[in-house]
Amino acid sequence: MITFILNNKTIKTSAHSGMTLLDFVRYEQRLTGTKIGCREGDCGACTVLVRTLENDTITYQSITSCISPLGNAHGKHIVTVEGTNLKNKLTTAQEAMKANYATQCGFCTPGFVVALTGFAISNSDKNYSKALDAISGNICRCTGYKSIEKAACQVVEKLENQEKNSFKWLIENGFIPEYFEGIPQRLKEIEADDLDQPKGKYVAGGTDLYVQQADNLIDNSVHLIQEKNFLKGIEINNGICNIGANSTVTDLWNHTELNSYFPNLKKHLKLVSSEQIRNMASFGGNLVNASPIGDMTIFFLALNSKITIINPAGKERQLPLKEFYQDYKTYDLKDGELIKTISFKLPTKDSYFNFEKVCKRTHLDIASVNSAINISLENEKIQEAHVSIGGVAAIPKYLHKTSAFLNGKSLTSEIIMEAGDILQNEISPISDVRGSSDYKRLLGRQLFFAHFTELFPKQFNLNDFVQHA
């Protein structure tokens, strides 16, 4: 039995674990405030909140219920818009939306309200920029967002005097109903034994599989692995970072130590999907999705990462990520094998990392081309360089020749431009809905240059690489 708390109600259901959480709340529980917009995690109309037992602090996260398997709710607290409602009055987030005219047709509105409420009861900093991040996965076609920005601003103002992690404060200030206070205890008490996991397709966060093949998952057996402990966690040992394949982008985002190693980490990760998806999507999933344009794959390729693969017998093997991909959507993983960890050497004070991504829409979009670089310098010479690029080949591309060329060279604009020429020989973009091949070539060149103008702004500017007036 899948057991969880839905709003203020304990649910025990024998429904199929692969059913989407969205269908369960809408059609089994008749909680119709959660809307269906796209069923692809691209619009946020179906946003709900999820809280796990593990943490004693207030950590609700927003997710898109349309691509979340019901089984992943097991043992958790799920909150829909109805679960945030107070009796006969509006919550602070709802009132802010109303007062600022931030709702027109109303169809996307519950998603925004839930995401803003999630922001209020998450442990993120309570500032305007974080509030916008929280609703960045919500699409509105009516308002043009300016009124929603004002509503977010009003919520942030109210939160400024918040007592950290205090349910009591949030309840007293009208953010959430009273029953939330009892949830941590109730989560401990519900009997959420390990779910029986039938054999079938491995599903972690589900963010890609439910977009590609939802119809196969909702009535076939799925093997949920999101809660498998051996796939979790981010550890740092002796200058090596090991990331469990089930870690999410948000886990990386929140990792204090990694943020100190990668000062631009949040800026880069902000380009990777919306907050809802970052809360769900696992790195393992991103790697085996094998999209030639996968953002995190490009990210880890440039870090020259290794992956550890585990088979059902518990036997492990390790290989460099750059050797994992063989051809379009094919890779070195046998039946029953799982990616267990991704590991890479942490940057030193002499190394520099950058990630670039360009798409039609800067955020919440799939790249036309993305690229990452990790470069270490010693006495103005490049000691080691790793460059990756996506969207220009059948696989997420580690640029072997370009990287090798840069090794040992001086960091000059001539060398960079020469490397840029090698890059052009290594890529083979095709024309598709993300752009013409000519565009992708030009963009590949530009993003390669952008790495250097970003990393060494005192040394290089755009003029050093391109000719114009």
Binding site: D42, M97, T143
Partner: protein, 777 residues
């Protein structure tokens, strides 16, 4: 000095806006919206035994159907029945303007996504699985995807139409400058977040009730009756609200409702049909792509003396609303400029795309993009700013439009001069120039966009509405109109009108669902006219009731009815409050057997149009405004951001300031989306490539302009606007056109070799290619 003065003016204007917003009425639906309690079609309680339906559609854009094998699908457990054209008891015809569109394909398919059959099953999931089991064989025929291809093959929906004013041919000879060129503007997906859908249920005696997400309940009712071969009174259509429409549910909400009703007709059971997003994107039409050519002639002092344009409208595989959309392109071909000699022609080209349809602006934006392109081209080649040409040609009072209407209460110059002075245009231009001189990796661009948009259905007979107002015996009020609430706030405006007439609090008034049994034979909620038409009807009904109530009060109080007023739920004699309360007055009227229900009809006066001469007075009035758009282009990556959009907009005397501002901002962002990131792509076989939200991108919260400021234009309003509060739904969308030119100006600032192009949307791809064209490194 000047700068300080205008800054003060701006600050006080913006303060006034912000105070007005605090006080202004909130959307009546906000309470249930924010709580997730508002009901949309997929939320209605369904009856036991309801079936769910999925549409089987053509996997080819053009061809002859050789065979369809439904046997495996029919054999799937849980499948109730599959319906095709053979099951239609009436006419297999849903075309609104021209009967050229079957509900289900018979022998031929004309677009990829054309409905062929309806699969009805116990669950939507089973119906979808059954769909995968249908085998179809199609003998492919040549596919037309562009207007030009259609024109070459003579594939047109109707005869081309032209508006002519003066003698352009002669006038071009007198021009100092003449320029010609081509433009393209792509389609646009409506992307209402609530997909198309309907729920049909059988009532007694062959009556079917349809809950539909439609802007046009009467269209659904009429078409269903026609397809089922039953009388219209057997079909009841009810609409609570839409999760967005934008024109996409004016005509194209109909087929799904008809299909659900057809299945209900045969099965005598409720049927629900909600399109999933992919089906919706694939099967429904969009804003029309336009391929256009223009010729513009100017005098030495930059007066536009002559303008010619030919618009090729990509109508798709059936007429739908295309002829009407095409007509509006002609009406707005000269935007807010006076041009004495005009010859503009539009051809609705029949292609193998899904039938394109209404979309906010309704052909107007496509026309305006062309003349703005012509001005940009002329300015560039003459060596002046586009602003100089725009400014030299703005409409004046009593100027004549190409369609014969004399421009009255013109606010073109007023809005233009206001935006210039309030925002200090010279300072903005200087800032852009200074930024560009001192930055190489980023460039700014700026553009002004004036708008002039005519209000009324251009098809004069559609300009009418009715309202049915009940005062219940406890003094509460229920109002039914033809207006469909889809986020534009029309219900709130109806409520304001009644509350104002009766002087009762908003809580006493309920706006009922839009239902064909309460208000019949209606025009769709479209053309920005919904609040005007239905509001005027509501006002009329309320005033008639008020008159009766005053007579009752006057008799009781022994005064004349003229001396009676109602204020805050009390009766006043002149300015003096009496003890007679609203609820008592209603009880009294009941006892006196006075009718507390009124049904009023309103038809817009003054308007007319003669299509044989293409002359007349089609619009009740025009809406004006001007926007300044500023952008910053990242010249390394080809991406762009909008720094600000500053607008002076003609609301008339806005009756709902917060709601109207929301319309301006929402329309603006939708317009910017159309011009920038929203790219519809079909391949040569007519298959939609931008077929999901992952491949079709509309603006998100990070991509909207950092600053959007809208200052109301000081005007007296217009009598034909409801309470002098002008229509606001569509006009502001066209401010977004400025985004194209602002970006193009930034590209020019980076790459002097860049050739101007007028090919929208200007995606990051086009920007990057433009930044580096003719630059070999």
């Amino acid at each position: 000095m000047h700068k300080n003065k205008s800054n003060n003016e701006l600050e006080s204007q913006l303060d006034a806006v912000s105070i007005a917003l605090k006080k202004s009425i909130k959307n009546l639906d906000s309470y249930t919206h924010v709580r997730g309690e508002s009901l949309y079609v997929d939320d209605v309680n369904i009856r036991q035994g309801t079936f769910h339906a999925v549409v089987f559609d053509s996997p080819k854009a053009h061809g002859k159907i050789k065979s369809v094998d439904y046997s495996k699908a029919e054999a799937l457990e849980g499948v109730e029945r599959i319906f095709t054209y053979k099951d239609i008891p009436g006419k297999n015809q849903i075309g609104g303007i021209i009967p050229d569109e079957p509900l289900f394909a018979e022998d031929e398919v004309h677009f990829w996504g054309m409905p062929i059959a309806l699969i009805v099953a116990e669950t939507e999931f089973i119906a979808r699985k059954a769909r995968d089991l249908i085998e179809i064989e199609i003998e492919e025929l040549p596919v037309i995807t562009t207007g030009k291809q259609a024109k070459e093959k003579g594939s047109l929906i109707t005869k081309p139409r032209s508006f002519v004013l003066g003698d352009p041919e002669k006038a071009f000879k007198d021009c100092e400058y003449v320029f010609e060129g081509e433009t393209f503007s792509n389609g646009q997906e409506h992307l209402y977040i609530e997909a198309q859908g309907a729920y049909a249920e059988p009532l007694e005696n062959g009556t079917i009730k349809i809950t539909s997400s439609t802007q046009g309940p009467t269209a659904v009712q009429r078409t269903t009756a026609q397809v089922l071969g039953v009388a219209m009174h057997k079909i009841e259509v009810d609409v609570t609200r839409l999760g967005g429409g934008f024109g996409g549910k004016e005509d194209q909400a109909t087929p799904w409702a008809v299909m659900a009703a057809l299945a209900t007709y045969h099965l005598n059971q409720s049927v629900k049909l909600i399109l999933n997003r992919h089906d919706d994107l694939r099967m429904t039409g969009k804003r029309h792509p336009y391929e256009s050519t223009y010729k513009i002639g100017l005098s030495k002092d930059l007066k536009i003396l002559a303008y010619e344009a030919e618009f090729l409208q990509n109508a798709g595989a059936a007429a739908d609303l295309s002829p009407a959309v095409a007509e509006r392109t002609l009406f707005h071909a000269t935007n807010s400029y006076y041009v004495p000699n005009v010859n503009v022609t539009v051809a609705s080209c029949k292609t193998n795309l899904p039938p394109n349809t209404a979309f906010r602006g309704f052909g107007g934006p496509q026309g305006m993009f062309v003349i703005e392109s012509a001005i940009a081209k002329a300015a560039h080649d003459i060596g002046v700013t586009p602003r100089a040409i725009q400014e030299a040609n703005l409409l004046d009072e009593n100027d004549v439009f190409s369609y014969g209407q004399i421009a009255k209460k013109v606010e073109a110059k007023n809005s233009w001069e206001s935006v210039k002075s309030i925002y200090n245009i010279e300072a903005i231009e200087r800032e852009v120039e200074e930024f560009n001189n001192s930055n190489s990796a980023y460039k700014k661009g700026m553009a002004l966009m004036p708008i002039c948009f005519g209000i009324s259905f251009t098809n004069t007979p559609m300009n009418h509405a009715r309202a049915l107002v009940h005062i219940y015996l406890d003094g509460s009020v229920g109002i039914s109109t033809a207006a469909v609430e889809m986020g534009q706030g029309v219900n709130t405006k109806m409520m304001q009108i009644a509350a104002n007439v009766f002087s009762v609090p908003y809580e006493k008034i309920k706006i009922e669902t839009t239902n064909t049994t309460r208000v019949a034979n209606t025009s769709p909620s479209a053309a920005s006219s919904t609040a005007d038409l239905n509001g005027k009807a509501t006002l009329k009904a309320c005033n008639a009731l008020l008159k009766r109530l005053k007579t009752v009060a006057a008799t009781y109080l022994k005064v004349t009815p003229e001396q009676i007023t109602l204020k805050d739920e009390f009766v006043y004699i002149k300015a003096k409050k009496t003890q007679l309360e609203w609820t008592q007055l209603i009880s009294m009227a009941m006892l006196e057997r006075v009718a507390l229900t009124e049904n009023a009809h309103y038809a817009t006066p003054e308007i007319h149009f003669d299509k044989t001469r293409e002359k007349g007075h089609p619009f009740a009035y025009h809406v004006y405004g001007t926007a300044i758009i500023t952008t910053t282009v990242d010249c390394t990556r080809g991406t762009y951001k909008f720094d600000s959009v500053k607008i002076v907009h003609d609301y008339g005397k806005s009756m709902s300031k917060g709601i109207d501002l929301g319309q301006v901002e929402g329309a603006l962002v939708q317009g910017i989306g159309w011009m920038t990131m929203e790219e519809i792509a079909y391949n040569d076989e007519g298959k939609l490539l931008s077929n999901a939200l992952s491949t079709y991108k509309i603006p998100d919260i990070f991509s909207v302009p950092k600053i959007v400021e809208t200052v109301p234009l000081e005007t007296k309003g217009h009598e034909l606007a409801i309470l002098k509060s002008k229509a606001v739904g569509e006009p502001p969308l066209m401010y977004g056109i400025g985004a194209y030119f602002a970006i193009q100006n930034a590209i020019k600032a980076f790459n002097p070799n860049y050739d101007l192009k007028f090919h929208a949307p200007i995606t990051p791809e086009k920007v990057l290619m433009g930044l580096y064209e003719k630059n070999n490194i």
